[in-house]
Amino acid sequence: MTRTPPPTRAKGVSGLVFLFCATAGGLGLAFDLTRNDLSSWWLGAEPGAAAVIGLGAATLAVLAGHALRFLLRRRGRNETTEERDAGHHA
């Protein structure tokens, strides 16, 4: 009989968060689409555009995370700290 560590399983609140966000987004989209306002001053203020802005913002946040970590990640011994100065001798 082999002793293997039990597999780690992860559970969280992603489902709950998804539900809340979907409900809030759906409610907002429903109200936005049913309002009788035809005086939108540009494309970004059209009904439904706010949802597109939200989707774009989340995508931007994820892409920015990847890009900055790829380009600007501090490499070397002090990877997790920002204490490496030119005069730092520790």
Partner: protein, 573 residues
Amino acid sequence: MLAITLNPGFVPILAALAVLAAPRMLRAPTIAGAALLALWLLLDREFGAAARVAQMGLPVVLLNLDALNRIFGIALLLALIIIAVFSSSRRNRYEDAAILSLAGGTVSALFVGDLISFVAAAAFAGLAAAWTVFASPLPGANRAGVRLLIWHGIEGLLFLVGVAFQLRAGAESSVFARLDVDTLGGGFIFAALMIRVGAPLAHVWLKDVVAHASPAGGAALSVFSSMLGVYALARFFPSETLLAPIGAAMIVIGVVFAAAKDDLRAGAAYGLMAQTGVCVALIGAGSPLAMAAAEGHAFTSIFAFLALLMALGAILERTGNARISSMTGLARTMPLSVGLLLVSGLAVSATPGLAVYATHTVALDATAQWPLRWLWLMIAATPAVLFVALVLRPVLTANLQTVAAKPKAHPIAEAPFTMLLGAALASFFCISIGLAPGWLYGLMPADLAFQPYALDRVAPRLETLGAAGVAFVLLRATGVAAKERAVSLLDIDALYRGPLASAGRWAGVVMLRFYGAWQAALSAASNWAARAFTAWTRSCDRPYAESPVTSGAAAPLAALAVFMAVMFFARVM
């Protein structure tokens, strides 16, 4: 009624002296009492200038109250009361005094009425900010404090040069008035305020000091530092066209770095930079509605980021860091702190019902014009990015429960009660301002009849945040979103802390070597001269020389004879 003409900011400064000697039980009440007294002095006065004196022909206006500085003063002094509650559980009298000095200097700068007093108060606040960082027990705090001193030193120098050029136009030009960036004086003062407010390239000091300060210090620095710059821009440079693109750049840099940072306190500082950028851009837009929106947005951002940094400070206090990568499972051991993190994060993200929403909608209305459509888009997208960066990332990670092979030996306890109470108080302010913003609108300089909870304003915000949440959860579930890892990111300060600092050290070493060589040459030359002189004097010492000429004494004897002849003839003449 006793009429006291005293700048409200002087009260916390005097209280700082008292706190240095006060026992621990009295320090928090002293801080809160000073804030309350300053608030009373502020609210008890009518608008207008008072305490005007003349020093060396220059007007010094120590107190000038109007609607602009009143709204900032109320926010800062209420924040100081909350900080007093938050900081009461720890023992650090020096940090208490530093925070009071920082608050006093900032509030004093709000209420003075001339440039010289403003620069003096702002410089005092800068020194107190560095002291606050020095008082932090975290590693690297001393270096961060020194870096802050350098930034504030440069800022102070720019202020002084700007004021000097302003005074060329006459003594009365020292009194507050709109300044022109195209003039030398106005340009230098503008440059100094760009440092204070954290404009791009000068933005790194805020995240540096907030990340290295203690929990209470970080909260205090977020409140009493860059917001003074926002006030000064609104006072000196309203409608300045340069401010709109600068504010937009601050928004972009702030949200991008906030989305990528692992250290959440630094991420919160970048988030603060983004919201400050909204204020700066609105000041640049310059319409009465935009100015009112800028001032109100600064007011609500103060409370939202105060709450956020207090919640993060509570986590830092117990766990030793505020990194998202270390927060896995934190909701089980620190549920209240994570709950407060959620509420404060929602406040920062301008969620309907919370503080920043009430002024963010005003900002959107103020920029709802065709020439400002890109600024409107950035302002509209900022809450969604901050929602992902400062709410969803940490909260989802904190609620992630893993069944590990080896459970931790020492379970983490909840944060100290006073820290939770302070963070809860700040969150309460966020909720109360958000639900009933009418009194905030009444404080603004411009009359504002605004309905933030009209359906055509709430619906798009729910849409934006909801869509952002759904998208991020899906991206995370599918593995597209980056896993939370312990990484540090480089920023512009890596340039001056790395290559520039190395170049400076190299230049210093070279100059030291030149100096050493010069000193060695001087020493060798003086040694040679001394030996030569000693040899010559010894040669004069021989008692039985053959003749004055062959013994080598001829030259000095001849010189002596010439000297005596010159003196004789000079006296005769």
